[in-house]
């Protein structure tokens, strides 16, 4: 099959219609390693692993619906999705950015060590599960809407922000088991949750000045990506969820 690629200086346009992920990724890897810095891919339809294995920084705009594991193991590129993302976006990401103009499926940001994921709408189950942080690396996931159960499960680091923009005034997030097994990192939620929605390892605290600074920075970026007013996003009260113990399983064993 002839793959339609138009290149122009440092930008390229790919028509992904009918391409399998391996073909599409091969083209992406080739043109990025040839020095193309901006790629627009049209007609994306379920192709997996887009952005995986791209060894250089580049900006990839995807039009359509990319498949699972978008940006898995990604190290550097920026991906903008004009559509929804499926499961596992940002899986074990090291650095880079994923900006989704729509919803994302389950396990967004699974085991990410760095990078940022901005999701304009809602996110599925187990978002931010087992995110970590290391030295200057700190993954950030900002969700415009709300999330399903097990948000931030097993979280060991990083920042998860739920802006709850599609909740009515006073409406609670519906996710349960939030932060189950959490032993690092922080979750900021707009609005409130009931005690029973939280994992037993999670504590609730009001925001301090340092939290507000963090929140301001990343909601500012979110607002810039999706055309919101940052002040408007921060108008409501936020709460902070934190791990009550850094070693939740320290007292489990007999020696």
């Amino acid at each position: 099959m002839k793959i339609r690629v138009e290149t122009n200086d440092h930008t390229a346009r790919i028509d992904a219609t009918g391409l399998r992920y391996r073909e599409l990724n091969t083209v992406l890897k080739e043109i990025v390693s040839d020095g193309i810095r901006k790629v627009a891919v049209h007609g994306v339809c379920g192709q997996r692993y887009l952005g995986t294995g791209l060894g250089r920084p580049a900006e990839i705009e995807l039009f359509g619906t990319p498949g699972n594991d978008l940006g898995a193991f990604m190290d550097g590129p920026r991906i903008i999705v004009h559509g929804n993302a499926q499961d596992g976006c940002g899986n074990t990401m090291n650095s880079g950015e994923i900006i989704i103009h729509g919803h994302a499926g389950d396990i967004a940001g699974l085991s990410a060590r760095g990078g940022k994921i901005f999701i304009r709408e809602d996110v599925g189950y187990r978002a931010g599960i087992h995110m970590k942080e290391y030295q200057d690396k700190k993954p950030v996931v900002v969700v415009g809407g709300t999330a399903q159960d097990f948000l931030g499960e097993y979280m060991a680091g990083g920042i998860l922000i739920l802006l709850g923009l599609n909740l009515n005034d006073g409406e609670y997030h519906k996710a349960k088991f939030i932060g189950t097994g959490m032993h690092g990192g922080v979750i900021y939620l707009k609005g409130n949750v009931n005690e029973y929605q939280l994992g037993k390892e999670v504590g609730i605290a009001p925001l301090e000045d340092s939290d507000r600074q963090v929140l301001q920075k990343f909601t500012g970026e979110f607002a810039a990506h999706f055309g919101y007013e940052a002040e408007e996003l921060l108008r409501h009260e936020f709460i902070k969820l934190y791990p009550r113990w850094l070693r939740p399983y320290g007292k489990l064993y007999a020696y």
Partner: protein
Amino acid sequence: MKTYLPAKFMVERDPERCIQCQVCVNQCTFDVHRHDPDQEMVRSGEENCVGCHRCAIFCPTRALAIKRNPLDYRENYNWRPEVIEDIIKQAETGGVLLTGMGDDKSQRIYWDHLLLNASQVTNPSIDPLREPMELVTYLGQKPERVEVERHSLSLKTKIAPQVKLEVPVMFSAMSYGAVSLNVHESLARAAAEAGTLWNTGEGGLHPSLYKYGGNTIVQVASGRFGVHSEYLDAARVIEIKIGQGAKPGIGGHLPGEKVSAEVSMTRMIPQWTDALSPAPQHDIYSIEDLAQLVYALKEATDYAKPVSVKIAAVHNSAAIASGMVRAGADIIVLDGLRGATGAAPKVIRDNVGIPIELALASVDSRLMQEGMRNRASIVVSGGIRNSGDLAKAIALGADAVYIGTAALVALGCTLCQQCHTGKCAWGICTTDLALTKRVNPDIGARRLANLLRGWSLELKDILGGMGVNAVESLRGNRLHLRGVGLTDTELEILGVRMAGS
């Protein structure tokens, strides 16, 4: 609380021989020996002794003997001392019993019930001292058939990535954090010297060991510790760890005490924090999901290296293995009941999983029946003790074996099962820098390479005795095996005939 636990061992010090040099005091990490400054004497308090022999081996005058404590309970086949003492420990702590190394219970060891064949009269045996004997093994997916260009005789079929092993024995996954950096370096250097592979386990690859990447299997497990693009690029093989024989279905907790500066750097987590590996991989809830991760890793490394998938041998391993092959695994690893660990709940270690011999035979048979045995290599681990076990594993269908415990024994381990305490007196299963230097990588690599050389020579002897000159001829050739003391069902699962038949 006063403990009701009796001492396990007695330490006998021969006063005639002891020169009060305090080597035992310095070597023991369990505070058994101490120097009494008032009386200028070394004394021993045996209640902490774990029977690791470090003091006895290093005593310059051989003044120490470690013996089992003769304090006997009334005989009881059901309520054995271990059972009683486990209850005492739990009554005193209220916790999960932790242990190290592999299952030490008396489940049947099938290797000991399998016997190898040799040539007599009707076909000649081969003397490997004078004739070439091939142990080279290639791991990876094999094509169904090969096509050759008619004139140039070059290969038309595209061959999937293969890994060449000079000897079909590799070092199994032991993470940096569970074992020390010096152990990793010993394994890496021995693997490089012997032309085989070692495995990082799930704790990342220390920067100083990237130069051994061509002999390295890197693991991607549920915690994804230290997994990043350079790590994947450095490796010869990438292994997805689903499970481990010592603790099928269980995750891992590396306690914060073991996360030193160097471990932190390699795992890419903050120092002194717990490293929790969840029980499942959260992106794998099905065979289809496994395929997704297999191909994510292939995509990330341009399809240039084989991807291995490791599971613990459990009841339905054969069906799972079939799924693993369909999911695109180039190598499948089965870790049996006796597979070891740096720390596992004892009840899991000793009660969950199945013997590797049965799992291997059933997986090999199943893949044959489904006509896809060529699509993946089979590697087995969990209690391979010597070249006899190795030869039997190959005859049952394994392409290669992993050794973990045997490798650690080569480095000094005496199976005292205290890995989980981080106090290993032999400096193997610890990150305490004062202890880790007890393993010298120059000597460690030598001991490991020696072990592999010894097994290679023995395997060649075994093959020669059978009258075959390549390990390929033994692979999956169960006619070279006979069983003794096994039931019909056991023989049927093993695909082996009774000795004498």
